[in-house]
Symmetry: C2
């Protein structure tokens, strides 16, 4: 099955940042808006958001290290590793400061990049990842991530697996994940995301993110799915107490995968934030 | 007692918009940022916010109709009357679209103006006034507003009265209200705000604001004091359900008078919104 029309409007490019080679989807023109996916996903999940903003921005969705068709070093999957990839990409693209839109792992990475290199960042949309996520939530996430390391007979089998793993993501978005995130191996279709990199990344997510949120000097829009199993109401409350000046959008009916389950509200919230 | 240094940095100007003459405090340079006070107050309450933004914006705090030294027509104190004053002021100033910062009555007026004349507005900071405020809250507000129509021996007596009415507003901000909002009459100091205009304005606040929030096509930052007695948690929840795409900042420890009780967080939240 062909990729969805949403994806084919974007050019795929490989960019050597000096640190590593990143695979990106790039579209539009204007100031820079970068998109960073969650763990085990890839740049393809941002098709609807790229479509919404490509009339005003150079939109670049990134396969982060260890994921998709980007480099997959043996080690180096902590917050600083990912964040410095973002900084090096902005410097390599060299068209000015970027708005960073990140989901989950990508949210953690984007806020960390803004805290480390504020001069490269205009603002951050931080979707469903905050400090103060509970240990048992991380344990459950690691288990799900590690269970993804398996072979599938075909893309339909992948889609069936993903639909079960992400019950609220609509079928077209599941299809995008199935078609973009797997490649033929000797024993069938296997995830492009490196199993070892995913295990290290999941561990790295446990590091305390409170210092980055405390220190970040660029605007951050905190978004949470009202039904998220990753960011609890309590984690959001503690994050709000840490930084009461940061705006919050809680998306009704959304689970963790806010930009895939509720693309329209996500796009509206980003617009209201960047046009404020 | 002299006015505080914060106020003296701004020029007082009278502007005939064609609809009426508005008294304003104006400072800074750059794009337009307008400030609209709550019922019975006046432009002086925005000294700290004007100071924070005058390096980047032409800051204009307005005595709204019926208040301060602006015109006080016999009738015409509904949302549309106030909102069209805002539109006429932006047109008269003629330096482009404005960011509107409004508290309470001013918040209602700013959102209404943005809904009626979106081409004149960049965005709105809507402080502690939402749709779905309960009838008994409005009844209590009307009683407090009408009780303000009295004569005071001197400014200290005014300050004592205001400190009792607004127990969480710090003494310097109480002093600003006392010094800016009263004038000598035959029987003592009386409010500049017209008692008849205040009564009509309080009644007008009861009109359903949900259509304006539903329709407004410019970004609105919804701010609420965590301890506000005007905007209940339930009113905020219903407003969020109406417009889940609008960012929210709830200010810890603040009551209704968010920008006076918690100026620093208010300024930070506005920065994060307009720099997003």
């Amino acid at each position: 099955m062909a990729e969805s029309p949403t994806l084919s409007r974007y050019e795929v490019r490989r960019i050597d940042t000096g640190r590593l080679t990143l695979n990106v989807r790039i579209g539009g023109s204007g100031p820079l808006m970068l998109f960073f996916h969650g763990i085990t996903a890839n740049s393809a999940v941002f098709g609807p958001l790229m479509a919404a903003f490509s009339d005003r921005f150079t939109t670049v969705a990134v396969d982060q290290r260890g994921h998709g068709h980007s480099d997959k070093p043996q080690t180096g999957y902590d917050a600083a590793d990912y964040a410095d990839d973002i900084a090096s990409l902005i410097e390599t693209l060299d068209i000015g400061r970027a708005i960073l839109v990140g989901h989950s792992l990508g949210s953690r990475n984007a806020v960390t990049a803004a805290a480390r290199r504020p001069e490269l960042v205009r603002s951050v949309v931080a979707i469903d990842f905050t400090p103060f996520i509970e240990d048992e939530v991380f344990a459950s996430l690691s288990a799900r991530v590690n269970a993804g390391d398996q072979a599938f007979a075909d893309t339909d089998a992948v889609a069936a697996y993903l639909a079960n793993r992400y019950p609220n993501i609509p079928a077209p978005a599941i299809r995008v994940r199935a078609e973009s995130g797997y490649a033929q191996a000797a024993d069938g279709l296997r995830p492009l995301a490196s199993p070892s990199a995913m295990a290290q990344t999941a561990e790295g997510l446990r590091a305390d993110l409170a210092p980055a949120y405390r220190d970040v000097a660029r605007p951050v829009l905190i978004m949470r799915g009202a039904n998220s199993k990753l960011v609890s109401a309590d984690a959001l409350k503690k994050t709000h107490a840490l930084r009461p000046d940061l705006p919050i959008v809680v998306v009704p009916g959304a689970d963790h995968y806010v930009n895939e389950t509720n693309a329209e509200v996500t796009i509206g919230a980003i617009r209201n934030f960047i046009d404020g």
